[in-house]
């Protein structure tokens, strides 16, 4: 009992519990049983190395790789890598003390720092980059507050001042001299800079957490994992990551669908075959035989809005649908802004994802006449030019945010289209609470066909699965 109280005083258990609370807050399902497992694991280990503790927590609390970034970010908050400037800075402080604060942050220091950063980035020296990120926030990202406890740290300020983006060309040069070709060098340089930016942001978070308590930061600063990230709020690097997720997602869905089809494959009892087979076991029907079930496959017509605001969402959905094309009988895809353009031919079987994306982006021009989204006009044009695409066997899928710039909605055309098709759905990448605000025509269209909220990869995957299943 005494011992327990002593542990409690150290704050370790408190920290452990608030870490778990934060994980739960971020959407990880951490049960009491896992909590106890984690404690058991920590008891079995030595506490000499931070990474061992990290691995032990990961092994017991984490159950899905997609949650890894969230877990890592929170772990860094609650069990930070270093406190303040860390031990190294304390050693250096003697020599730097003479120069005072001014020398730590001036144009000359900035230049020297940039040079060092360039060197580290060119060599991709992770250890040094981590130190540099911490140093950068400490020196260039400080935001002095009005009083004690009110000062803060800003990754944004630090990044603006040091502006690592300017170093891209020089990193590319360094990579080229290593024998990489220029496309690749560009890509690698971009990726390293992106990683460094994340390290700087992490470090700013760590410092803020130190001053205001990790709970404060955990609530506001943790981004959702990639499969729960909204399409509309994704950054460029997120989009790239999402694109990498599409193919694995399609494969997962396909294997799930095949399994489910197999499970439902047994049709009604085939009496004749069962009786005949029972002859070899003396008339006892040991094995029953069933008539095969005819699989039903949907014919799909996809109509997507590719105007700037929702283009990413349309592309992801198209890629996913076409990656699963063998689950459908036939897929036809059209893009529109205020005019309709067929894009089915871009999706050849086994085509390269990056190429398809590039082709799609290039063909956007065909879908626009004046370039302002006009759903009414697009629907009318579709009915005029491609009415043959829809039939009693096909399902209609419309993708878009239903924001039509206050133009004529032509709801009657939509109800005719929906009437021709076997099923009709509307996928809207906006949160349901935004439907009907501003120029959104979601309520009007939603009254005619089923409108489904589809904001992230998880929701998209579920929808496509139900569509094909």
């Amino acid at each position: 009992m005494n011992e327990q109280r002593a542990v409690h005083r150290s704050g370790l258990v408190d920290r452990h519990i608030s870490f778990l609370e934060a994980l739960r807050g971020a959407g990880l399902a951490v049960s009491l049983a896992e909590d106890l497992d984690a404690i058991a694991a920590l008891t079995a280990l030595e506490w000499s190395d931070r990474s061992v503790i990290h691995d032990a927590y990961a092994a017991t609390l984490l159950k899905r790789q997609a949650q890894r970034p969230t877990f890592d970010a929170l772990f860094d908050l609650y069990f930070p890598r270093l406190v303040g400037e860390g031990a190294r800075a304390a050693d250096d402080s003697n020599e730097e003390a003479g120069e005072g604060d001014g020398a730590r942050d001036n144009a000359q220091a900035l230049q020297a720092f940039q040079a060092e950063l360039l060197d580290a980035l060119s060599q991709d020296d992770q250890q040094r980059l981590l130190q540099l990120a911490a140093e950068m926030v400490g020196r260039f990202g400080a935001m002095p507050g009005r009083g004690p406890g009110l000062s803060s740290w800003s990754a944004y300020t630090a990044l603006q001042r040091v502006s690592p983006q300017e170093l891209v060309d020089q990193i590319v040069q360094a990579l080229l001299s290593e024998g990489r070709n220029d496309d690749e060098a560009q890509r690698v340089a971009g990726r390293r800079l992106g990683a460094f930016t994340r390290q700087v942001e992490d470090d700013a978070r760590r410092r803020i957490a130190e001053e205001k308590g990790p709970d404060h930061v955990a609530n506001v600063a943790i981004r959702p994992s990639i499969d729960r990230l909204d399409f509309t709020s994704a950054r460029r690097s997120d989009l790239e990551e999402m694109r990498r997720e599409i193919y694995p997602l399609a494969r997962r869905l396909a294997s799930r669908l095949t399994q489910e089809h197999h499970a439902r494959r047994r049709g009604p009892l085939d009496f004749r075959r069962t009786v005949r087979a029972s002859m070899s076991t003396g008339g006892v029907p040991l094995v029953t035989h069933h008539k095969p079930k005819r699989p039903h496959r949907t014919e799909l017509v996809v109509l997507c809005d590719v105007s700037g605001s929702v283009a990413n969402f349309a592309q992801f959905t198209l890629l996913l649908v076409f990656a699963l094309r063998d689950q459908f009988q036939k897929v036809r895809a059209f893009t529109f802004i205020d005019h309709v353009h067929e894009v089915t031919h871009h999706f050849t079987p086994g085509a390269d994802v990056v190429d398809v994306m590039a082709d799609l982006a290039a063909s956007t021009a065909h879908a626009a006449l004046w370039g302002r989204t006009n759903y009414g006009r697009a629907l009318t044009k579709f009915e005029e030019n491609h009415a043959d695409a829809l039939g009693p066997k096909s399902s209609l899928l419309i993708l878009g945010d239903a924001r039509s710039n206050y133009s004529d909605l032509h709801a009657d055309v939509l109800s005719r289209l929906a009437g021709t098709a076997r099923h009709a759905w509307w996928l809207n990448p906006e949160a349901a609470r935004h439907w009907g605000t501003g120029d959104s025509a979601a309520p009007t269209y939603g009254a005619i066909i089923d409108m489904v909220e589809c904001r992230n990869l998880t929701q998209l995957g579920e929808f496509v699965h139900d569509l094909a299943g």
């Binding site: 079995a44 691995d55 092994a59 990489r180 890509r187 990498r244 494969r251 997962r252």
Partner: protein, 287 residues
């Protein structure tokens, strides 16, 4: 019996049997032994998930019992089955005047029990590593079956009673994540995600698996694999492919991995036509 003394001990003993484990793998393996909890290993194909279980068995001198999962796997294949043919023979051979209750007691005994991997692993008295491979390939019903085995290490056979583990096996489940496993199974397991290794570790792995490989070629090979993984490919090459590639280079007696050599042997690492084209285009390989 303790399986490993510490994470460092686990890493060292796995290395000794030819499996180079990273710190996270070593820690989780150690915990699986120390906490007597099953270990769920996920990751892309070919990063050494199954190999980890085999290596643990080799390192600890335990015997490996393997249950390969597939669609349609059922209790009779995973747990136990009554040898009904033998039971029939027994009934026919018995004298006519024997009481039914006596016969009944006779035919539901050890003699007529066919043990399958799960039951075998539980009943073994020597140290055992139980590998449940590709658990995501099974139907959801089998997961329910696994629950009893994984949490309490016991199996209930209605006719015989509950069989408890004499010595708890170290259980390794592998999954390609083609299907989400149920929360109940995941909760009972330690989770480990195996990913592609960093360049240094990969070079060590290739060197240890393919002894005759020249150091310079190994370095070129690992660098090229690293560049391929950065591309957006349908199937990025994994460790198994690196090792295959190294073996190919030895067989073809290629001493320098230049553009032509890469081009000629790319089929060993990339298995999609579109990936092939992309690699040639992005790495600017000359035909």
């Amino acid at each position: 019996m303790t399986w490993f003394a510490s994470p460092a001990d686990a890493a060292a003993r796995l290395t000794a049997v030819g499996y180079l484990a990273d710190p996270a793998t070593a820690t989780t393996t150690f915990l699986a032994g120390a906490l007597e909890k099953p270990m769920l290993v996920e990751g892309p194909a070919g990063v050494g998930k199954t190999e980890l279980a085999k290596a643990v068995a080799r390192a600890t001198g335990a015997e490996l019992v393997r249950l390969q999962c597939y669609e349609g796997l059922d209790e009779a294949r995973a747990l136990y089955e009554w040898n009904y043919k033998k039971q029939l023979l027994r009934i026919q051979a018995s004298a006519n005047d024997q009481e039914w209750s006596a016969t009944h007691d006779d035919i539901f005994t050890e003699e007529f029990l066919l043990t399958r991997p799960l039951l075998t692993a539980i009943r073994r008295e020597e140290p055992t590593v139980l590998l449940i491979d590709e658990v995501d390939k099974t139907d959801v019903e089998v997961e329910g079956l696994l629950l009893e085995v994984l949490s309490d290490f016991q199996v209930t056979i209605p006719e015989l009673g509950t069989v408890e583990a004499i010595r708890r096996p170290l259980v390794v489940l592998t999954s390609n994540a083609s299907r989400e496993l149920s929360e109940a199974v995941k909760r009972r397991c330690l989770y480990l995600h195996l990913d592609y290794p960093d360049a240094e570790r990969e070079r060590e792995i290739v060197a240890s698996q393919v002894p005759g490989l020249d150091d310079r070629v190994a370095e070129q090979l690992v660098a090229t694999i690293g560049r391929l993984r950065e591309l957006e490919l349908k199937k990025a090459p994994s460790i198994a492919e690196s090792v295959d590639w190294a073996r190919t280079l030895i067989a073809l007696e290629i001493r320098d991995l230049d553009d032509k050599a890469i081009n000629d042997t790319l089929g060993v690492v990339l298995k999609h036509a579109s990936d092939h084209d992309r690699a040639i285009r992005e790495l600017r390989l000359k035909k």
